[in-house]
């Protein structure tokens, strides 16, 4: 019935560690995404879910159970870990399970330069953007713990161990924790379920034929291009986890310009425009252009590609 809680600075590899521990111990991983998708729909209306995803203080309002949302979540966490244990990422679990004898609380940190490097690599953004991303995400982590539990995120007494991942590999840390609890390791790892990484960049072929046609035009002008090299986080949940990201289709290094093609009908374009506006607000220094269906048709026609 081991419960391991993982609190982390943004870019300190806390999510990766939680996943690794989940696999190592064969325990389910419970994180913010799991709570949002599995639990909130049963106790909150759709408009409340939106608020809960964005605002820590919304957790102080009443759920359909007549108790504050954060208490509803606490109850489910306690219920979920009663018989089987779990790896819990964030959620204020270090406070919720503070006095639980089966709980072990880990805090993961890294020096800022290392965190910036990791975020740059993970999302393909530059150092200035990564620094802003980290500041925003950490602020949300800190605010959640303070608004709900009046606890300081940096209070080391909340944790049994604080690990700096600058020079440690996740597998090394996971092994170290495993050595501390050898009797808790299960052979069956099927219980471990995770993949919150829907925004991770995957290398793939062109999604739409128009992208391949667009490349022909770029190559006519000997323009170097990169396909989906950068993912910009644009929304974070209450705890600072990225919940929505935007990956422009192309990057033209010679002009430091991103190009997003949209071949969707106009009625579906509104959502993409909203994403674009968010991206521009969060990353005003990023040069990005969206080409709509009619623009692309005209362009392809003009250059004889169609």
């Amino acid at each position: 019935m081991l419960i391991i809680t993982v609190s982390r600075q943004t870019g300190s590899l806390g999510e990766e560690l939680a996943k690794e521990l989940s696999m190592t111990f064969g325990l389910p991983l419970i994180d913010r995404e799991y709570v949002n998708t599995q639990w909130l729909s049963g106790i909150a209306k759709s408009n409340q879910i939106s608020l809960l995803k964005d605002s820590p203080k919304a957790h102080l309002t009443l759920s359909s159970e007549g108790i504050p949302f954060y208490v509803s979540i606490e109850n489910r966490l306690k219920e979920a870990t009663k018989d089987s244990g779990a790896i819990i990422l964030g959620l204020g679990a270090e406070v919720i399970f503070k006095d639980n004898p089966n709980a072990f609380h880990i805090r993961i940190i890294s020096p800022e330069p290392a965190r910036i490097n990791r975020i740059c690599e993970q999302y393909g953004i530059d150092a200035t953007q990564a620094q802003k991303f980290i500041a925003l995400s950490d602020r949300k982590h800190r605010k959640y713990l303070f608004d709900i539990y009046s606890q300081s995120w940096g209070d080391n007494s909340l944790y049994h161990i604080t690990l700096n991942t600058e020079k440690l590999k996740i597998t090394q840390i996971s092994q170290m924790i495993a050595n501390m609890f050898p009797n808790e390791i299960k052979n069956d790892t099927s219980a471990a379920k995770i993949d919150t990484g829907e925004h991770r960049l995957k290398k793939r072929d062109f999604v739409h034929p128009s992208e391949a046609e667009f490349v022909k035009i770029l190559e006519m002008y000997h323009l170097e291009w990169k396909y989906e090299p950068t993912t910009f986080p644009i929304e974070w949940d209450t705890e600072g986890n990225v919940t929505k990201a935007f990956t422009p289709d192309f990057f033209l290094p010679a002009f430091q310009t991103y190009v997003e093609l949209t071949t969707m009908n106009q009625k579906y374009v509104t959502a993409k425009n909203r994403k674009m506006r968010k991206l521009k607000a969060l990353y005003p220094e990023v040069n990005i252009t969206i080409l709509y269906k009619k623009d692309i048709s005209k362009l392809l026609s003009k250059f004889g590609v169609l």
Binding site: E219, Y221, F255, L299, F303, G304
Partner: protein
């Protein structure tokens, strides 16, 4: 001048063109006084603009042209653009102004600026007669702009449709077939 088939309404009259080009010439004369710039344009669309603009400049200037073409069918990079007539004047260390007839996607201008920057000019700026931003995806600073125009196909004053209408003294909308 008699209008031909496909040529629609006048977008910019001969008089407005003349007045604005003179204004651009004055601005350039003031900004480049003592710098002896080189004004460069792309054949053939920019030839009338280059001619009128440089004659409206009151300071000493050098004038040069280049031409862009496409690799023919059957070539390994068929369709790709290439320089078919290079500059005759050495622009290294010079102040260069590109006189462009029209900037729309920014692709041609982007190609040009990369080519010209390879010669390491002291400065490189753009003077665009027409600016259509509707389909722009390569944003380059345009120091001088004659007219901002909507997203329409235009001909005249050097701009053509299948080599026709370059000779028109005004800019007109062209209804594509």
């Amino acid at each position: 001048m008699e209008k031909s088939n496909g040529v629609g309404r006048t977008v910019i009259s001969k008089e407005r063109l003349r007045k604005r080009v003179v204004e651009l010439g004055r601005e350039i004369s003031a900004d480049y006084n003592g710098l002896h710039p080189v004004v460069v344009s792309v054949l053939r669309g920019g030839m009338f603009f280059l001619s009128d603009l440089t004659r409206a400049i009151s300071i000493p200037v050098h004038v040069d042209t280049l031409a862009i073409g496409r690799y023919p069918e059957g070539h390994s990079v068929s369709g790709a653009v290439k320089i078919t007539k290079d500059l005759d004047i050495l622009i290294t260390g010079r102040h260069v102004i590109i006189a462009e007839d029209i900037v729309d996607t920014g692709l041609t201008l982007g190609y040009l600026t990369r080519i010209l920057n390879n010669h390491k000019p002291e400065s490189l700026h753009v003077c665009a007669l027409l600016n259509n931003t509707a389909r722009r995806f390569i944003n380059l600073p345009l120091r001088y702009v004659g007219f901002n125009i909507p997203d329409i196909f235009v001909v005249g004053y050097g701009l053509d449709f299948n080599e026709d209408y370059r000779h028109l003294e005004y800019i007109a909308e062209y209804k594509l077939p």
